[in-house]
């Protein structure tokens, strides 16, 4: 029993600064897997509500307003409806393949989160082949889509599946080229050895003092642009949502699915979106690093509050300001809830909804207050910044859907093969050259940028 407790608490030692996978602690691996699974499910539920609400506001509508205050309980009502719905299988469908397909998609979408780095020690495990593993496993989801479309034994799903596989295979090429340029940038250290590990890539950005989106300006930005376009196509989202274009194919590859199995496709789509966004955040936007990670400001000390308990963490004034961000943002969300509580209609029938919204605001504010407690604050800072960056991408996805009209299929193929692929190849050649002769680049770009700044 004592050994067991020691085994569990051993990982919490301040000197252990690796992921539970690297430490080989099975208990904490299980805990982390459960945490990631629960967090992902909550994120998908929140995303469901946010997407409908934000899209509605972009189109000057109200969106869901009936179930719970401001429709907050709508996703739960939807989930209940889906679980209670009859699960229909077409008579001529291939039963086994029809049954397996949603599980392939969900498995592929969830497995990639093994290597997503929420912080230097906050990942399930760190693999030497991290980014390769993520790209490989997320490319397996196309198998599920293809088999789903084929097994339905119907025209619309088959066409949707064919479109989907052609699209995903095409955009994977451009995506891979953009990723390779980042891996090239990680090798710009004293040893000249790069890395594929997700944690290693973020640490390389920390060591080089810049996010890779700003590295070798504009090369990093071009790579990020290629990836940002390709990842929307990879996840079959608007404006590249041809596989499920409702005006042409009713619902594409999941036309024949209903109830629980349809909800699995939904879950997989949103978690795949989160997965590719976290690849983009890790590779170009500095992963868990806060904005301006190399600026610390003067060292300050406030009794019992600052500097952090872990001596390895930086102690500057700027670090302190950024460490307060997670708590402040949750307090802000709570304040928004309270403001809207005050604006609720005063009719007695709205009493429960008003109380519910106030309670939700109180929970958010309480979370915000907990995030101010020094030990919690020092541990969740990196998770907060990572999630905030991913959330920004999620907002962009919704924004794209509200803004861009859908591509035609030949336009989609043209963008993939005739624009993104040559751009990716050029980017690879340029960044290879610049990485070899980085001093030349600095001699050209730095004076130019100084000159540009002096003009301003």
């Amino acid at each position: 029993m004592h050994d067991l407790i020691q085994y569990i608490t051993g990982y919490l030692d301040k000197n252990v600064k690796v992921t539970p996978g690297a430490a080989g602690n099975i208990f904490w691996i299980t805990v982390y897997i459960l945490l990631v699974f629960v967090g992902l499910s909550v994120a998908v539920i929140a995303m469901n509500w946010l997407e409908r609400k934000i899209l509605a506001h972009m189109q000057v509508r109200l969106g869901p307003m009936r179930v719970g205050p401001h429709g907050l309980l709508q996703p739960i009502a939807d989930a209940l409806k889906l679980l209670l719905k009859e699960d229909i299988m077409p008579a001529e469908a291939d039963a086994i393949v029809f049954w397996i397909a949603p599980f392939i998609v969900v498995l592929a979408a969830f497995t990639v989160f093994i290597v997503v780095p929420f912080g230097p020690a906050h990942a399930i495990t760190d693999m030497n082949i991290g980014i390769l593993f993520m790209l490989g496993v997320s490319s397996l989801s196309v198998l599920g889509i293809v088999t789903a479309g084929w097994a339905s034994n119907s025209h619309y799903p088959l066409i949707g599946a064919l479109r989907s596989s052609a699209q995903m295979v095409s955009y994977e090429v451009a995506m891979g080229l953009a990723v390779i340029s980042v891996i090239l940038m990680t090798s710009l250290n004293a040893q000249g050895v790069g890395t594929l590990s997700m944690i290693g890539i973020v640490q390389a950005q920390q060591a080089q003092g810049t996010w890779f989106i700003f590295k070798f300006f504009p090369l990093g930005l071009v790579g990020f642009f290629i990836f940002a376009v390709a990842m929307v196509a990879e996840t079959n989202r608007a404006p590249f949502d041809l596989p499920e274009a409702e005006s042409e194919l009713t619902a594409g590859f999941h036309t024949e699915y209903s109830g629980f199995r349809w909800s699995l496709f939904f879950l997989a789509e949103y978690s795949a979106m989160i997965a590719v966004s976290s690849i983009a955040v890790t590779l170009w936007l500095g992963g868990w690093l806060r904005p301006f990670p190399s600026l610390h400001g003067p060292e300050i000390a406030i009794a019992h509050i600052w500097p952090p308990s872990d001596p390895a963490l930086p102690k500057g004034a700027l670090d302190f300001v950024f460490a307060l961000f997670p708590g402040i943002s949750f307090l802000f969300l709570g304040a928004v809830c309270f403001y809207n509580t005050a604006r609720m209609p005063k009719h007695p029938l709205f009493k429960i909804q008003t109380l519910g919204l106030a309670g939700f605001g109180a929970v958010l504010a309480l979370i915000g207050l907990i995030l101010f407690v020094p030990p919690v604050r020092d541990r969740v800072g990196d998770i907060f910044w990572f999630s905030a960056k991913v959330a920004a991408f999620m907002y962009l996805y919704i924004w794209y859907r509200g803004t861009f009209p859908r591509y035609r299929f030949d336009q989609l193929m043209k963008v993939g093969w005739k624009i993104l692929l040559p751009m990716g190849l050029g980017l690879l050649v340029c960044s290879g050259f610049v990485a070899m002769r980085s001093e030349v680049w600095h001699q050209i770009v730095l004076p130019l940028s100084h000159w540009f700044v002096s003009l301003l």
Partner: protein, 173 residues
């Protein structure tokens, strides 16, 4: 991290692979065969992981399971199933087949029984966290690299294949 339950995972993956392989040739429906083949390939990737070769495992997933098999399925889906159901599944060259299977089986059995003298006793321990870097050093390093030339030849072969595919598919270039 030290490996846990190695025999269990080995037998699990090996059995998955063998069942997948058998299903590939016994199923009449080509899509089922392809799915069984994917299962076998993924189990093989797991075996590579157990052999401390994560890079090969990753390439196996990304190339075979994710790339080639998707294109396989893409083609198979367009074939009419009714016709394939009627076609004969096995051809009549069973004598040659038995001879080849016996030769391969004999090789496996002899390796299994005489394995101790064939392979060195102690296996050098590979650093799992350095696998990609080790592979790269073996391929490209000016001092330790040995396979640069063969690697380039292989990429030339692939280029020829790509150009050939374009020439065959497009009548007017």
């Amino acid at each position: 991290m030290t490996p846990v339950a190695t025999p269990f995972f080995f037998y699990l993956l090996a059995v998955t692979m063998i069942i997948g392989g058998i299903l590939v040739i016994t199923r009449k429906n080509a899509v089922h065969s392809a799915l069984a083949l994917i299962t076998a390939l993924l189990a093989q990737a797991g075996i590579y992981l157990m052999l401390y070769a994560p890079f090969v495992a990753g390439v196996q997933i990304i190339l075979y399971a994710g790339g080639i098999m998707v294109l396989f399925l893409f083609v198979i889906m367009l074939i009419s199933i009714e016709r394939t159901q009627k076609e004969r599944q096995f051809n009549s060259q069973w004598l040659v087949g038995i001879a080849a299977a016996a030769a391969l089986g004999g090789l496996f059995i002899s390796v299994y029984t005489k394995g101790k003298s064939l392979f060195p006793e102690g296996r050098p321990s590979y650093v799992e966290g350095q696998n990609v870097q080790d592979v790269a050093a073996l391929l490209y390093d000016p001092h330790t690299g040995m396979y640069m030339f063969s690697f380039e030849i292989a990429s030339l072969l692939l280029l020829v294949a790509i150009i050939g595919a374009v020439v065959m598919a497009k009548k007017r270039i």
